[in-house]
Amino acid sequence: MKEQIREVIREHGRLAVDVDTLADDADLYQAGMTSHASVNVMIALEDSFDIEFLDSMLKRSVFESVDSIAAALTEVGVPA
């Protein structure tokens, strides 16, 4: 699952660095992801994993790192 998350971030996160240089718990916003880019990441994740996030998950802190995104995906039923 984490490789698929990284793929989405690579395509839509517009990071200042290559996502592969970041640890799973690294802060994506500190790596340059803007709020606007984070919305594109969310939309692409919904599409790629064929799920819908809940409103309670749609906040900055949930999309802060690969780890926190993985936790949210697990919560909506994506197998680890």
């Binding site: 916003y29 340059g32 803007t34 939309i43 409103d55 749609l58 906040k59």
Partner: protein, 391 residues
């Protein structure tokens, strides 16, 4: 009454008295001369209103945001600039109260706000990023061995910059931090060099005295608000700004409506029983005003409820959308009400020296759409609407 209800009633009551007795008599002069409403601010200090939101354990009144919102409305009704200065100060206090991390330097600073009734201004916008509060160019320098750091920020608009005791400034966390990786720093005037750029001769909100500055500061790093700015912004600065600003705009629009009503009543007295077209327009105006009042009141209640019981929801995109929409809706509706009030009063509303003048109201309320450009907020909302569910 409970103690909080008593405190809240006192905050609103004293603001109403100051609005009527102190702000109203000089509102025209403040506007004409674009001068700071010093009398109103002095009276608010005397009532210790500048620390209304500081919790009781730090010596403050511990008033609710509801009460401060009521005070903003009362002041805005008599003098838009006084209301806006009060609102902006309270926003800075709320950010420190909510995000100080207990036991930090900010506990002591807030005690000082209580004791000395410090007036705090805001430096969020920046030359180069405009109204995009979520990005900074200026950065905190690498602290020296003694823990002293500095910044230099080009600020296009700093309300009451020449009169404030301290400033809450957004900057990048470090020289190599990304534009969105921000912190807020509280610095005292003595720690700053404020180099004014140009003058302040705007269309409205003239008494806010908001010229540009190059702001330089040197400060101990403990003066950086502990929580990062993205959290401060989502949970407090953005929603509280929108809630309190919109109360000021509602106050301005309400007074414009009251003046239109006084005009119609006077006309009805002169010709009792005769048809009065302006009376119909006044009735239409009332429904416009109620829409504004409903939106502003609903958002205030929602913020107070979430802040008290479900703070995590303040960061959800669906919530952010609603508080952004409050700003857009109120900033468009308030000038609409003022303009319609002008339509009711006609030439005596257009003249600046009658009891029915609404020119100042119209000009003041037109600043609303620029205080973080509505176009910019629409762009944010357009993106959030693509992903949020229940809005």
């Amino acid at each position: 009454m409970t103690i909080t209800a008593e405190v809240d009633a006192a905050v609103v009551g004293s603001a109403r008295r100051i609005a009527d007795e102190v702000a109203a008599p000089v509102a025209e002069e403040v506007d004409r001369e674009a001068r700071f409403p010093a009398e109103a601010v002095a009276a608010l200090r005397e009532e210790r209103a500048l620390s209304a939101l500081v919790p009781v354990e730090l010596g403050g009144a511990g008033a609710s945001l509801d009460a401060v919102a009521g005070a903003c409305f009362e002041l805005g009704r008599r003098c838009g600039a006084s209301g806006m200065v009060f609102a902006m100060h309270q926003i800075q206090v709320a950010c420190m109260v909510n995000h100080r991390g207990e036991g930090s330097w900010f506990d002591d600073y807030l005690r000082e706000v209580v004791a000395e009734q410090r007036l705090i201004a805001s430096i969020t916008s920046e030359v180069g990023t405009g109204g995009d509060m979520g990005k900074s160019i200026a950065a905190v320098s690498e602290p020296d061995a003694a823990g002293t750091a500095s910044f230099e920020k080009q600020a296009p608009t700093v309300s009451y910059g020449p009169h404030a005791d301290a400033f809450l400034t957004t900057v990048r966390r470090a020289p190599d931090a990304e534009p969105g990786d921000q912190v807020a720093v509280l610095t005292r005037r003595e720690q700053m060099e404020m180099d004014q750029q140009g003058t302040w001769d705007p269309l409205g909100m003239r008494g806010t005295c908001s010229p540009g500055f190059v702001a330089k500061a040197t400060f101990p790093v403990e003066q950086i608000v502990p929580e990062r700015f993205s959290t401060i912004s989502a949970e407090t600065m953005t929603p509280v700004s929108h809630v309190l600003w919109s109360q000021v705009w509602l106050g301005i629009a309400t007074d414009a409506f009251d003046r239109a009503r006084a005009f119609v009543k006077a006309a009805a007295k002169r010709k009792p029983g005769e048809p009065l077209p302006a009376a119909i327009r006044l009735s239409e105006l009332m429904s416009q005003l109620s829409l504004l009042r409903a939106e502003v009141g609903l958002a205030l209640r929602e913020y107070c409820e979430l802040h008290a019981n479900d703070r995590a929801r303040l960061s959800e995109m669906a919530t952010i959308l609603r508080f952004n929409n409050l700003k857009i809706a109120a900033s468009e509706q308030a000038p609409t009400v003022c303009q319609e009030a002008l339509g009711v009063c006609g030439i005596v509303g257009y003249k600046n020296d009658t009891p029915f003048s609404v020119g100042r109201h119209l000009r003041d309320s037109m600043s609303a759409r620029l205080m973080v450009a509505n176009e910019r907020i629409h762009a944010t909302d357009a993106s959030l609407l693509l992903i949020a569910k229940e809005v």
